[in-house]
Subunit: 197 residues, 2 copies
């Protein structure tokens, strides 16, 4: 029904996650009518991600190896924050309060999806910590079943490595509403209550 | 927070309609991890829509001019179906019951968006019909306020052109549910009721 070039684009776009055939059709028809410069910019940007690879040290996404964070002498090399994905790392960087280094596991344990310990960059983390010079490992996996199981595995793998292993704190999210909060979160925030005066 | 190539892609993707910055981020991170062949296929597909233009006769999207439908001798040249967009044309073609030609207006009247009669391919339609050989013009603009106003304008513009001008029928959509149908649709389907026996 559409010219071949449009059908090709619809097919390619509908392979993206969360983009169904109707959305792909809408996007393709938008691009057909968009200025040529904008379309070419998108094509170049898509092709350009071929230059992105994983940092050899922390497995964050990078164009240079080691990545800018690992290469930054102003960041605390004694502290490693362990995250599941580059997106989690980006969220922590956006928060702006952490000035140490990272380690991207590239996933979380998920037996149902066939993701076992060998699929994670865990051996590389243990090697980094065993090399010495690391004071603290902060486990910042997600507060989900998979993330908790992964945190547990990471903590056990690092036992006896000579570094303090910590976990991000649980509690109320800032801006949340108590009456809509689940019981487990409330229990955790009771446990982690702090003295004010 | 991400490498430049990833940020470029996020920016380019978030220019697409209905793609916010979070979705663009998710898509970009998917593409970073996708096989290189798939990423290159998408880049080529995006760049490829540059070859798509409007048919000189009916203004449908095409890579050849005139488009395959206008060039097809098996399609009834005496019948022209007037639609708003190439997507509407594609929906009618997918239905498969129409064997005539088309005319894509490239929009509908929408004074609030600054779309007046001169923005539509109306003059070209009148010229096509005045050239003769057209028996019927079927107005298939959308059953919306804009589509109805456009249908009215098209009908008035074609008055005295020598062709029968018709409008797509109103009524219940097949598979619909009477209790969820709006009153106007129900009134229209009462008006267009047909004798069964």
């Amino acid at each position: 029904m559409y010219p071949k070039a449009v059908n090709n684009l619809i097919t390619a776009l509908s392979r993206l996650p969360g983009i169904g055939s109707k959305t792909a059709e809408r996007l393709a028809l938008f691009l057909v009518r968009a200025p040529a410069a904008e379309v070419q910019a998108l094509a170049r940007a898509v092709a350009g991600v071929g230059a992105v690879k994983a940092c050899g040290v922390c497995f964050n996404l990078t164009e240079s190896d080691p990545c800018p964070i690992c290469a930054d002498p102003n960041r605390d090399a004694q502290s490693i924050c362990v995250v599941e994905t580059p997106a989690d790392l980006a969220a922590l960087e956006a928060a702006g309060s952490y000035r140490g280094r990272y380690h991207v596991l590239s996933g979380a344990l998920s037996p149902l999806d066939g993701v076992g310990p060998e699929a994670l960059r865990l051996r590389e983390l243990v090697r980094r910590v065993k090399q010495g010079g690391v004071r603290e490992v902060i486990i910042a996996t997600n507060p989900t079943v998979e993330g908790e199981a992964t945190a547990d595995l990471v903590a056990r793998s690092l036992a006896g490595c000579g570094a303090v292993v910590t976990r991000l704190g649980y509690g109320m999210p800032v801006g949340g509403d108590l009456k809509y909060m689940d019981g487990l979160t409330l229990s955790r925030s009771l446990e982690s209550r702090r003295k004010l005066s």
